[in-house]
């Protein structure tokens, strides 16, 4: 009987060990990454809105942070098969139905985020332009690949 339980438990244990080794909980990871980008955007938006004065150093720091986070979005690692549901995910099934389209959207965002950081905007006008270019990716991707749940 004991042996039977051990036998039955082995694969479960193996999966548990394996996923711990892989680092993981892709749903939690991708949610944390999205939140982190929200923070970077949150420090930039008031400047774009004109509520806070333009500060080249602060802008560059936030744009660099945003770019760093953007480059961490690895569709295969963060949105693997099997994470379509669970953990309060709001990922749309379209991510898996049209994975090529999703990957293309992520790559566009990465390119725009890199360009915005590389531009090192020195005045408000050029910053607003760079910010608009990169932030339109948020809505564009969420339009198709995210669903609301609450």
């Amino acid at each position: 009987m004991k042996r039977l339980i051990a036998f039955a438990a082995a694969p479960v244990l193996a999966i548990a060990v394996f996923s711990a080794a892989a680092g993981a909980d892709p749903i939690a990871d991708r949610q944390a990454l999205m939140k982190d980008q929200g923070k970077a955007v949150g420090s930039l938006a008031p400047i774009a809105k004109g509520e806070k004065p333009f500060d080249a150093a602060a802008v560059l720091a936030a744009l660099s942070k945003l770019n760093e986070d953007a480059q961490k979005i690895d569709p295969a690692a963060l949105f693997p098969a099997g994470t379509e549901t669970g953990g309060e995910t709001t990922a749309s099934p379209k991510i898996w139905e049209d994975n090529a389209g999703f990957t293309a959207a992520v790559n566009k965002y990465k390119a725009d985020a890199a360009a915005a950081a590389a531009a090192k905007p020195q005045d408000l006008a050029s910053f607003k332009l760079a910010f608009a270019q990169v932030s339109q990716n948020c809505g564009a991707c969420h339009q198709t690949y995210r669903i609301k749940k609450n």
Binding site: G38, K39, G42, S92, C138, N150
Partner: protein, 307 residues
């Protein structure tokens, strides 16, 4: 005896059919009301166009930038009633190039086509019915300036009984009204303007308010959020109730409509992405007016089952 009974059944059926035909007849807008409108102003009409969100459904699927001004149709709305396909409303022979202003007004205010058929309320005339006739005259002038398209959109693919267009006449008797949804006591001019934009052209309630089994909007839970009309997910509560926007300031709401960013810098997604593209074209005062109205309306609990 049996013959008499049969006769009675036939008479009753005929009576029922006649009653259905009578009650379901399309009724148009009073021509005197339309005649009062001044000639349309395309410049003002552009504002109406963005407030009304025409491009969200009538631009070709996936169109961006100036291509959103080509109202070729073909966008599919997959709903529990079946699939609605939006028509071409560009100024061409395949679109609505031959329409008069009266045709457009009857479509938008009464949901009746030029040839006298009911439109399905996937076309939100239930909201547009609250619009001012002059705004439609201006919109008419603006639509004439847009690029033509020769696209022919597919037919709707609906389930029975929704496929019986005439039946909409009965539905309209229940759910089509030009009256305001609610009364805001002591409303400022901004709130009144916001009420007009939200309840009329903006047609926010079409997605943000729950519907009953036959698709009637539940006005007692106005803007409380609902299951997404198509596909998965939900449309959020935009009253001050649970899961709603009670903690947002008017500025937050106006900025979200302009930029797509929520106060915690998440970005609005789904169909709201297109709405933001439209709202970004409005005057800042109009976005502020929408915000003022949303803060003034009654709070409701979520209009959909808790997540």
């Amino acid at each position: 005896m049996i013959r008499k009974l049969l006769l009675l059944v036939i008479v009753a059926a005929l009576g029922g059919a006649a009653g259905f035909w009578f009650l379901s007849a399309p009724s148009r807008v009073d021509p005197a009301r339309l005649a009062a409108a001044a000639p349309g102003d395309a410049g003002r009409g552009e504002r109406v166009f963005w407030a009304g969100g025409c491009a969200s459904c009538h631009a070709a699927p996936g169109a961006s930038g100036d291509a959103r001004l080509v109202l070729a149709g073909g966008h599919e709305l997959v709903t529990p009633f079946g699939t609605f396909v939006t028509p071409n409303i560009s100024p061409s022979a395949k679109g609505i190039g031959s329409w008069s202003f009266e045709d457009l007004a009857n479509a938008m205010l009464a949901g009746v086509s030029p040839d006298g058929r009911h439109y399905y309320p996937a076309f939100p005339y239930t909201s547009y019915a609250r619009m001012q006739v002059q705004d439609i005259a201006d919109l008419y002038a603006y639509l004439k300036t847009l690029p033509p398209s020769d696209n022919v959109a597919a037919d709707h693919r609906l389930r029975f009984p929704y496929s019986v267009r005439r039946g909409l006449g009965l539905w309209k008797r229940l759910y089509l009204s030009s009256d305001p949804v609610l009364t805001v006591a002591g409303a400022s001019d901004a709130i009144k303007r916001g009420q007009y934009l939200v309840e009329g052209p903006g047609h926010c309630g079409e997605c943000h308010t729950p519907r009953n089994a036959i698709g009637g909007v539940d006005k007692s839970r106005w803007l409380a959020g609902a299951k997404a009309p198509e596909g998965k997910g939900v449309v959020p509560n935009i009253t001050g109730g649970e899961g709603g926007i009670g903690s947002w300031s008017e500025k937050d709401i106006a900025y979200a409509l302009e930029s797509g960013f929520t106060p915690d810098f998440d970005s609005l997604g789904g169909s709201m992405t297109d709405v933001v593209l439209n709202m970004a074209h409005l005057e800042p005062a109009d976005r502020a007016a929408i915000a003022a109205y949303l803060k003034a309306i009654p709070a409701h609990p979520r209009g959909f089952a808790a997540p």
